[in-house]
Homo-oligomer: 160 residues x 2
DNA sequence: GTGTCTGCAAATCTTTTGCAACAAT
DNA sequence: ATTGTTGCAAAAGATTTGCAGACAC
């Protein structure tokens, strides 16, 4: 699927999800979902989403963006990412695969700021060990790895 | 070392660290370090630190706490922890062992909110694999595991 | 003495909320 | 018709900053 498509299947799924929860299908909600759907892997702040949505829907208010983001997050349609830079960022969920989202981690380049995603099951071993030794049952995890991406290592931009 | 001690060795190290960086040793800075030193493993917000410090030093201002926290963080004396609850939390670094701090992760109980620390080298395997396959060189990581602690599993407080 | 640090208050900045008008069902 | 949703503006709440006086060295 190419950027710019309407993603009708995704949209229909979303509309059903709203209806199932007694929520209403509004132009604003669809517009916000569309922005995020068309930029998979991009991690957008509320303000950035607001700016993108305004291009197609100039009347929208920032408060609506915040309210919709919260809704999408609760419905597990989008994932939250906090890079401790003062903004909370959001990305479209991994094609509604709940399991995939659970194993979805981030590589953050300290030089250029680019974010890469990767999946890994290695943590499951760790989680089992924790359950056995500490009696703590892990149900979710958040992993952020910081370092230098291939591009920046090549450019020798790191460690300035 | 017991809670309530002066921790003179730690304090002397800190004083030297300040001097080495051309910074001044002030009563406020020492008082804030002492609060954090006396509560290892506790994750305090700026406001909480402020309240504790005020008990011994009532004239202190909140701005000084924020400025000192930032300083301590830059000097790697304390570690930052963000639980996405609107506050940034801080804890004293793991006895100045830089390597230990690198392998210091958190278990966060979804029921009672308690935070447990654990150390693990399992991620090193993962980091090597990432370097080989993606060319991304990891230099630091942040791991948060969410779940149910032993105590709450016993109380059946989970999954209410 | 000189340059840094503190405390206060005001400013900043993201996110939330109250409310009247509006739109979806 | 009913109920949820929007947009606006104001509020909230954590963190920061400017500045004059105070303190460390």
């Amino acid at each position: 699927m190419k950027i710019g498509d309407d993603m009708p299947e995704n949209q229909d799924q979303f509309k059903n999800l709203l209806k199932q929860n007694g929520l209403k299908v509004t132009t604003q909600r669809i517009a916000i979902l569309e922005v995020l759907s068309n930029m998979p892997g991009k991690h957008l702040t509320a303000e950035e989403i607001y700016d993108y949505v305004k291009k197609k829907y100039p009347e929208i208010g920032l408060a609506t963006v915040y309210r919709t983001i919260q809704l999408l997050s609760e419905l597990n349609v989008i994932d939250k990412l906090n890079l401790d830079d003062g903004y909370v960022r959001y990305e479209i969920g991994m094609k509604n695969h709940k399991e995939a989202s659970h194993h979805h981690h981030h590589l953050i380049c300290l030089d250029c700021g680019d974010i890469y995603a990767f999946q890994d099951d290695l943590l499951e071993t760790l989680e089992e060990r924790i359950k056995d030794t500490l009696g703590f049952q892990v149900v979710d995890h958040e992993v952020k790895l910081y370092g230098h991406c291939k591009k920046c290592l090549g450019n020798s931009n790191h460690r300035i």
